[in-house]
């Protein structure tokens, strides 16, 4: 069975040219991994380790300088944007800022449909209503603006926007960081339910190791643009190999177990 997403030796170099010569600022060393359908992969690492950059490369915001990304065995080219945008969708960290305040949720969700599909207006509307109910909201919510919603509902809309093109992979950049605990568990449950029902592949970036351990199947640890370690969640949490991962895990363990 071909994996859903295969990443081969993906590299990225950011260079600035001051006056003379080339100075390399940041590079993402060759990254390779595979993602099967219905699987969740978490990306861990400190700030500035290239987590968000990897997410951007996957969704096609940034152009990689080497390597390739295969979706179901066929290469994604940078020119065929529609194919990529339909297959890989992204959820952003701050759901509030990522929604346009001047548009109703309906028109917000309609935009990707207009750009990427050839559905006519009534079927677009039907699709929007279907997606809204899928994420646990009412069809009437399409007439609402973002300021009328609570935080949890906004996050749901962000999920709905990612889902509306029936993607195969969702890339989420810190989707739970800005949420309150009770709303956070709701969103976690929603994402896990959608994954079970639709067989989505998830790639998500998070600082919260508790949630990483709970929902992910595999983990990729990045430091300074290099892959330090990757493997099954269980293995990484119990037998971390590299010193960097050990430090991360220890810090986390120190928080939950308290000697008193």
């Amino acid at each position: 069975m071909t994996p859903l997403l295969t990443v081969n030796n993906l590299t990225y170099c950011k260079k600035v040219r001051p006056w003379l010569g080339k100075k390399e600022i940041f590079r993402l060393a060759p990254v390779s991994f595979e993602l099967k359908a219905g699987e969740t992969m978490a990306i861990m690492g400190e700030n500035g380790s290239g987590k968000s950059l990897l997410a951007k490369l996957l969704v096609g915001v940034e152009r990689p300088s080497g390597g390739n990304i295969l979706l179901n065995g066929e290469a994604l080219s940078h020119s065929n944007k529609q194919q990529r945008f339909r297959a890989i969708r992204m959820i952003f960290q701050h759901s509030k800022e990522s929604l346009n305040p001047a548009l109703t949720l309906g028109s917000l969700l309609e935009e990707p449909l207009i750009l990427n599909t050839d559905l006519d207006a009534p079927s677009r509307k039907k699709k929007i209503e279907l997606t809204l109910t899928q994420v646990g909201m009412l069809p009437e919510h399409q007439y609402f603006y973002r300021h009328m919603l609570s935080e949890g509902q906004r996050q749901r809309v962000a999920v709905a926007r990612a889902l509306i093109l029936n993607p195969q992979i969702i890339v989420a950049d810190e989707p739970f960081a800005a949420l309150d605990p009770s709303v956070r568990s709701q969103t976690v449950n929603l994402l896990m339910k959608l994954q079970r029902d639709l067989g989505l592949g998830f790639i998500f970036i998070s600082h919260n190791l508790g949630i990483v351990r709970h929902i992910s199947d595999r983990i990729l640890v990045l430091a300074d643009g290099n892959v330090v370690e990757s493997g099954k969640t269980d293995v990484i949490f119990n037998w971390p190999k590299s010193e960097y991962t050990q430090r991360l895990i220890q810090a986390y363990q120190a928080l939950i177990t308290r000697d008193d």
């Binding site: 605990p181 009770s182 190791l209 709970h214 991360l248 810090a251 120190a254 928080l255 939950i256 008193d260």
Partner: protein, 331 residues
């Protein structure tokens, strides 16, 4: 005698729909050398409590309390000057989000110099005092674990990373040698390793200087690593308070249970990818507060009595406000 003792603190806010009780009968007490956590989600009034303790609320809001004592002296009835003296010398606040609370137009050196009280300096010429200020600032920065003090003191807040700014804000709060440190969400948005550093720092200060800390946050992991006692807040009502270990082992209020359940790290028996238990719905806004117990509409155990405000009951030093507490079914 507790350091800070608050009983039935009520804060009313003037809105278009009339007076709304943003805080409703809050009880809170902090002993000296105690680390107390104040837990609640956003909009539960955590920051309002902090502001009403230091008196940073607008005058037109009504603050009433049966008791609001600082070392036995009533904070509400004293004059503004006296109160300012107390908040200046004996309490310190680390506000949420250092990048926005620090002055963007002044260097960090100028800002920390301003917060050093004159009583800590010898009499001398202004250049001598300036040198003293600089040494004190330097020592403080070393204490909180900022090594590169020259760079830090000469830069503006936007030039430094968030975690350094947060440590700097803690240094600034500690410079006047307070008895109580109120830390409003000091670990928000930090990654685990930095978070640990800040928590260790606070724990060390608590041990060595006997500093009391009111740790305001919704990060249960950080709280459970730090605090001795915990007060849980929901929508401006105190829901449960008591010793951390006791609450963690056997919460009595359904909301506390839900909060604890929402952190998968605490539950080792939970199979991976199992659904987390959570409360339905979201926190009501101030304009649409339910009557009685404010958790009512979201509570899985709610019954008819819940439209009346439950009285605070206690078992030893474990206080809770619920008609139908968990683990304690009616005989």
């Amino acid at each position: 005698m507790p350091l800070l003792d608050i009983k039935n603190l009520t804060l009313e806010i003037d809105t278009a729909l009339g007076w709304v009780k943003a805080l409703d009968k809050i009880n809170l007490s902090i002993d000296s050398k105690e680390v107390r956590a104040l837990v609640g989600e956003s909009g539960s009034g955590k920051s309002l409590i902090v502001k009403s303790i230091v008196g940073a609320l607008p005058d037109r809001w009504r603050v009433t309390a049966d008791r609001m004592n600082w070392k036995g002296r009533d904070l509400l009835s004293m004059s503004d000057t006296q109160r300012r003296n107390i908040t200046r010398n004996e309490m310190s606040v680390v506000l949420q989000n250092p990048t926005t609370t620090l002055d963007p137009s002044a260097t960090l050196g100028e800002q920390i110099g301003e917060s050093i009280p004159d009583s800590m300096l010898d009499k001398g010429w202004f250049w001598q005092r300036r040198a003293q200020r600089h040494t004190i600032a330097m020592q403080q920065l070393h204490k909180v674990g900022i090594r590169n003090h020259e760079l830090c003191l000469s830069s503006y807040p936007h030039q430094l990373p968030d975690d350094v700014c947060q440590k700097f804000a803690i240094a600034m709060a500690l410079v006047s040698d307070p008895k109580l440190l109120i830390a409003d969400n000091p670990t928000m948005g930090m990654e685990t390793t930095t978070k640990i550093q800040v928590l260790r720092l606070l724990a060390k200060l608590n041990k060595t200087r006997g500093l009391s800390i009111l740790f305001v946050s919704h990060d249960l992991l950080a709280i459970s690593a730090m605090a001795d006692t915990m007060t849980v807040l929901y929508c401006g009502q105190t829901v449960e308070s008591g010793r951390m270990s006791q609450i963690k082992r056997r919460p009595l209020h359904p909301y506390t249970q839900a909060l604890l359940d929402s952190a998968p790290s605490f539950r080792r028996d939970l199979p991976p990818k199992a659904a987390l238990s959570c409360l339905e719905g979201t926190i009501p806004t101030l304009q649409h507060l339910p009557i009685g117990c404010r958790l009512g509409p979201r509570c899985p155990r709610a019954q008819k009595d819940c439209v009346k405000m439950p009285a605070v009951r206690r078992i030893h030093d474990h206080h809770y406000a619920c008609h139908f507490p968990l683990h304690r079914d009616k005989p």
